[in-house]
């Protein structure tokens, strides 16, 4: 099934590998993110679960990496889809019309890292962080706290 999955996603994968501990990841171009989800949803009849979206601020590489942690019910398999977006203008297509359960995760990443999800009309700020922090993106590596900005 693993080879079948790689085969299905072969047109989109830039890089693939395994995390320590064994779970697989596939890096794709951010412009192809929706295509990947469409392919997965088509292949597994919509039974694809987004566990979360992990954002990682790669400060020295001037990019923010978004890891879509996915669980595929029919094959009982966890995979991660990675996309990169530039740190100075972080944007990626929203997937909430494809997987509505991803809404809170997109709102969280938008609030804490300032990544815009194109097509998500529910993006609000602040969502989780307190209102006095305003437009801060506190989980970015160069954020030093309200008193040190």
């Amino acid at each position: 099934m693993e080879s079948k999955l790689s085969e299905k996603l072969k047109d989109f994968i830039i890089e693939s590998g395994k995390f320590k501990g064994g779970s697989e990841f596939f890096k794709v171009d951010r412009g192809k993110l929706r295509d990947v989800f469409n392919a997965l949803l088509r292949e597994f009849k919509g039974e694809v679960h987004v566990t979360t979206i992990t954002a990682i601020d790669r400060l020295d590489e001037k990019k923010i990496e978004l890891d879509y942690e996915i669980w595929i019910y029919p094959i009982k398999k966890a995979i991660t889809i990675k996309v990169d977006t530039p740190r100075d203008d972080p944007k990626v297509d929203s997937i909430i019309d494809l997987v509505p359960g991803a809404l809170l995760y997109e709102l969280e990443v938008h609030d804490l890292f300032g990544v815009k999800f194109i097509g998500n009309s529910y993006l609000v700020k602040p969502f989780i962080i307190s209102e006095d922090l305003g437009s801060a993106t506190p989980l970015r590596k160069d954020w030093r706290g309200p008193s040190r900005q």
Partner: protein, 390 residues
């Protein structure tokens, strides 16, 4: 309808003590007694713990992760220790893995009994609440016996566990389990047959399987909607690949199903604890502690009492994580939960809310609005529960 004579009222539910005595706010739009829409507002207890992890050593991270959620603290430390162990390339000894499973299951039993007691209280069955919580003390005593602590167990550590059990402790635990099992079987009969409980929970808050998948729900909420998923079986960790157990799945998709899943899971957990202690491997309980991790990235998933818990660790070498992401189960269930209230009466709100078993401290994050007049009202869960009983 809004703006007409029969308009919608905003009923504010929270943020003080909205559910299970934790700060959360739901804005319910109600038309008469019927909920038209529910909007959660989260963030009241967001404490920036992911950022704190980046500033603290891997060792301090164990205690930090334990404090994300008091109720399911063992799930957090198991998940945290596993993700760090993955990055450090270490495998805990077999005895430690079995002991992790034992304490993880005792933690699940206490969490489920806590919720079942609160559910009984919200349904107006205060005696049942007190009886369940009385019997929950049996589990709390067992947790204290094994870990030395009632709540914050401080049991897991990187590379294994901190305390061993001797034959006398095992004998004491195995002696209490039949008594606990007998009581839980009685509570199962009550939840299954009591006409008042059934009237308040059957066909209330229905989450069809398709929606459970679309909204990415986890844990007993998913299993109560016919979604067959359990991380302990699907991505085995600790000693779950060696311990036989059943995954409880029901297809009624309502509040009752979600409560029954938890009752049956308590019985399964008792069997897991019994099996693990009877088949406890000999040997050491932990490996020498490593303080720093090599560069690398790992993910750990565990089945916490409320569902799948995920930690994602990125290390660039050294004694602190570069990034540690924590996804707690209540956040995953909140979106679907908001849909469950629609079309039900205000009196059903507490029953639906407890069936989610929300833990807002770990998610971090209710308001009622009258559709006719547009008025907002702040109502406590206790008031709502009282109205439900009248």
């Amino acid at each position: 309808m809004e703006g007409s004579l029969t308009s919608i009222i905003n009923l504010i539910f929270g943020p003080q003590h909205p559910a299970l005595h934790e700060p959360e706010l739901f804005r319910f739009k109600v038309e008469g007694e019927i909920v038209v829409k529910a909007e959660p507002r989260i963030g009241y207890v967001h404490r920036g713990i992911e950022k704190l992890f980046e500033k603290n050593t891997y060792i301090k991270g164990i205690y930090l992760s334990e404090r994300i959620c008091g109720i399911c603290n063992v799930a957090h430390t198991v998940c945290y220790c596993q993700v760090v162990e993955n990055v450090m390339n270490i495998e805990p000894p077999p005895r430690a893995k079995y002991l992790r499973a034992v304490v993880h299951e005792l933690n699940r039993i206490h969490s489920h009994l806590l919720l079942l007691g609160v559910a009984a209280e919200e349904l107006g069955f205060d005696t049942l609440f007190m009886l369940i919580w009385r019997d929950r003390e049996l589990v709390m005593d067992l947790i204290e016996l094994i870990t030395g602590n009632r709540v914050m167990s401080a049991f897991n550590t990187i590379g294994g566990v901190r305390r061993d059990v001797n034959a006398e402790t095992i004998e004491k635990v195995l002696k209490v389990l039949p008594k606990l099992e007998e009581r839980v079987k009685y509570y199962r009969k009550v939840f299954e047959e009591d006409p008042t409980i059934r009237k308040r929970t059957v066909d209330v808050g229905i989450l069809p399987r398709r929606d459970a998948i679309r909204y990415c729900v986890v844990g007993p909420m998913a299993r109560g909607s016919a979604v067959d998923v359990d991380i302990r079986r699907d991505i085995p960790y600790a000693a779950y690949d060696e311990i036989p157990f059943n995954v409880i799945v029901r297809d009624e998709c309502d509040v009752w199903a979600r409560l029954m899943v938890r009752v049956d899971e308590v019985l399964e957990s008792i069997n897991i604890v019994r099996y693990a202690l009877e088949h406890l491997p000999s040997g050491q309980i932990r490996l020498p502690l490593k303080r720093s991790a090599p560069p690398g990235e790992a993910i750990s998933r565990v089945e916490a009492p409320r569902g799948e818990l995920l930690y994602h660790l990125v290390s660039k070498g050294g004694i602190t994580p570069y990034r540690l992401k924590v996804r707690t189960p209540t956040l995953a269930n909140l979106l679907a939960a908001s849909k469950l209230f629609e079309g039900h009466t205000i009196a059903d709100i507490p029953a639906i809310l407890v069936s989610i078993d929300p833990c807002f401290a770990c998610t971090d994050r209710v308001t009622l609005v009258d559709v006719k007049s547009g008025k907002s009202t702040k109502v406590s869960l206790r008031e709502l529960a009282r109205r439900g009983r009248e």
